[in-house]
């Protein structure tokens, strides 16, 4: 290789590394007036982006977002804890069990904002700001269940894995293993996530399934031949709590963000961007009038989690 060719290769390599470094640089639109708040969440982009945009406009602060499915979010938090401490100022989880685990480790909690959100979805450490509802999804050609006990009449049923999706764990906690054993006896199968259930039912691989309302209405709205129903005694409600990090060095703006999400304005944005708000009189996505809902006992579920999953594994395999 000649000298000029070697130089060219080195120059190209340096240029590539410099460009890669530039990839991580803040963009020109970055707000630099204050230290940004770091938010960790598993809430979907459809909801979290409008909430962040409105808050930034409202408070003049910037929010740095890390969004990932629950598994990755947990892994990120656990890695942070083992490498100098939690880097998030605020965590917005998708289920109370995850947040309870974070509280138990002393990572979050100790403060909640003033809000009209009901006591049933609040603790001294966190406040529920969005609901997920576990509903029934059936093919147009199959009978929609009026009660959960009728789900298997629709035909081949799919359920989400409670080892993977907290919403599925909430449903397992509410219904109990016997309900799932009965479904299994009638030919039900377990898939990974509620989204997989929705996709499978929409395609016709399964005749019916349990999935979250957001996924169910998303496939229905796109035109898939499915029916969404809220069987009795009710759709299982799983609330997504938000909490302040105990180690935040940016507590003022972080508290402002939590307060904003729990406020009427914040809840209105949550409701208009595809999630179900927890503030009762704020409009949200599609929900039939008088649709029944039920709430698992999250405190007892937290202590029974291992037993429940072990019993469940005997039914559907591990």
């Amino acid at each position: 290789m000649t000298t000029w060719r070697r130089r060219t290769v080195w120059l190209a390599a340096l240029l590539l590394l410099w460009t890669l470094g530039a990839c991580g640089s803040p963009t020109a639109t970055t707000i630099t007036t204050a230290t940004p708040i770091t938010l960790y969440t598993c809430v979907n982009d459809t909801t979290i982006q409008p909430v962040i945009q409105k808050f930034e406009a409202h408070a003049g602060a910037k929010v740095d977002l890390f969004r990932a499915p629950t598994g990755q979010l947990n892994a990120r938090v656990a890695s942070d804890v083992r490498s100098g401490g939690l880097k998030a100022d605020v965590i917005w989880a998708c289920d109370p069990l995850t947040m309870q685990d974070y509280v138990a480790q002393g990572l979050v909690g100790g403060w909640t904002p003033q809000t009209d959100i009901p006591e049933t979805v609040r603790t001294p450490d966190y406040v529920g700001v969005a609901f997920l509802y576990m509903v029934a999804l059936t093919r147009k050609s199959a009978p929609a269940p009026a009660a959960w006990t009728e789900l298997s009449r629709a035909g081949k049923v799919a359920v989400p894995d409670p080892n993977v999706a907290a919403s599925a764990l909430g449903a397992l906690g509410y219904f109990g293993p016997d309900f799932y054993a009965d479904l299994k006896d009638k030919g039900a199968v377990q898939v990974s996530t509620p989204d997989d259930v929705a996709t499978g039912v929409a395609q016709g691989i399964y005749d019916a399934g349990m999935t979250i309302a957001n996924s169910a209405y998303a496939v229905q709205k796109s035109g898939s031949p499915v029916t969404v129903s809220w069987p009795k005694p009710g759709a299982v409600a799983i609330y997504g709590p938000i909490a302040l990090s105990k180690t935040t060095t940016n507590s003022g703006p972080a508290q402002d963000f939590v307060s904003y999400v729990a406020s009427r304005d914040g809840q209105t944005i949550v409701g208009s961007s595809g999630s179900y708000p927890t503030l009762p009189d704020v409009a949200g996505p599609t929900k039939p009038e008088d649709a029944p809902t039920v709430n698992p006992d999250w405190q007892s579920l937290a202590s029974q989690k291992a037993t429940l999953l072990s019993d469940y594994a005997k039914i559907f395999g591990g």
Binding site: M1, N44, D45, P69, Q203, V219, S224, A313
Partner: protein, 537 residues
Amino acid sequence: MRSGLARSAIALLLACITAVVVVPMLVLLRTSWVEGRGRLAEVITDPDFGSAVANSFGLSVAVTGLAVPVGVAIALALRDPRLPGRDFWRAAVLLPVLVPDFVLAYSWLRAYARAGLSSDAFGFAWPQVQGPVGVTVIVASQAVPLVYLVTVVGLSTRAEPATERAGRASGARPVTVLRTITLPLLGPAIATAAVLIFVLTLGTFAVPQVIGAPAGFSTITTRIYADLALGSDPQSFVDAITLAVLLMVITLIVVTPADRLLGGRLSLSRTSARDSDWGTASRRPRILVPIALALYLIFTCGLPLLALVSAAFTRAVGVAPTPGNWTLDNFLAVLTPRTGEALGRSLLLAVAAGSILLVLGGCTAALSRTRSGRAVSVLVALTLVLPGSVLAIGLLIGYGRWLADTVLIILLAYLGKLWALAHRPVAAAVDRLATAGLQAARASGANLPTALATVVLPLLRPALIAAWALCFLTALHEVTMSSLLYGPGTETLAVVVLNSADLGRIGVAAALSVLVTVVVVVPGGALWMLGRRSRHA
């Protein structure tokens, strides 16, 4: 190689292997030992762990047993320059590499499961697609392109057409020539492919998760994922790390003796100069070859990829892909300014990863006869088998204080995960390099770098191109590591799509795959055409 260059190569290897493999592995080992040693017996004696290990092993053996013969057979079939449509077949065989694992798994479901494409079009469904058989077939179909590539590299660097022609001229039948000349010469390449596929299958996750779950089929990787999903509980998180460490131990037990056994026994020295002329067979190629290829590709690529494209262009899952239901909405969801930025970042990362890995893989291959080279090749096999999320955790714990949220930590993850993919194809080619040409160049006064560039690199070009392409394509649509390591302003393309639509919205994911395929195939095809024109000019 005992020059300064060799010492530099060893120093580079040691620095890189420490940074991207040793540190994260030590972090994982420490976490598992310090926080999880009290539960080790419990994890190992869990009956579910036993079945997961058995399933993982069974799957790896079955996939290796399926993919290696098929991949080698396809490479040998496509060797004949007079095979009709050879260039098309060559490109078609590689198509599965362009599609992310999880999307391909959904594509197979849409193609063959109940109410899928085959059911709608031909009234035929394949219920076993959801279960161990389906997982085996799909993972094997993903592995075949890799076996094919490694074998092609082997054919271009190791085979000896002159010897084969001599055998045929002496009256040997084609099968005899294949058995006594071609396959023995290809031995190291086939062994390389077998070890690589075995390790890759041990670490495969997306297909068992999507396809195996409905049949209760769990592997070590799906159990790790389940533990991570419940990872807000420290015990579950540590169990996941412990399972990953056990997976590494299993891999170590398998790969080390395999490498020693195969590396030693199958090495051969070149007996003739490089000869790319395969000559002419005595008969026209049998029509059976293109028919068999067509049937294989329709089953493993055609229908699943057609299902993928139809999902990308159809407004909803479960509606017929007729013109009335066609839409560009899935593409509009993907084609945003944010996605454009992320695509540029992903391309740069993939180019950087492919280029750096080419150097690292080449150095590892060049040093494969040394103790340090062998140790490096085993170490990088361990990170290949590690689930991406676990390797990312190791990097986050190791470097998170300084590199969290940067593009550099994502690049380190790619280097750690894909090193073996760069090394093994090159290693399969490098051990048969004739040293005579190199010695002649040195004797003529060329320094070592010049001799390497003018004598060795041209001979290794097919292997280097294959290794670079594999790493580039894998990095381009990687999602499990980058979704854990990204931060503000460092999202990759797959992360943006994952965030804008959870994986359940398969239409958007399918549109992304089509987009990535176009981004790769169009410039790649143009370059290939230019290359052909310049060669024929």
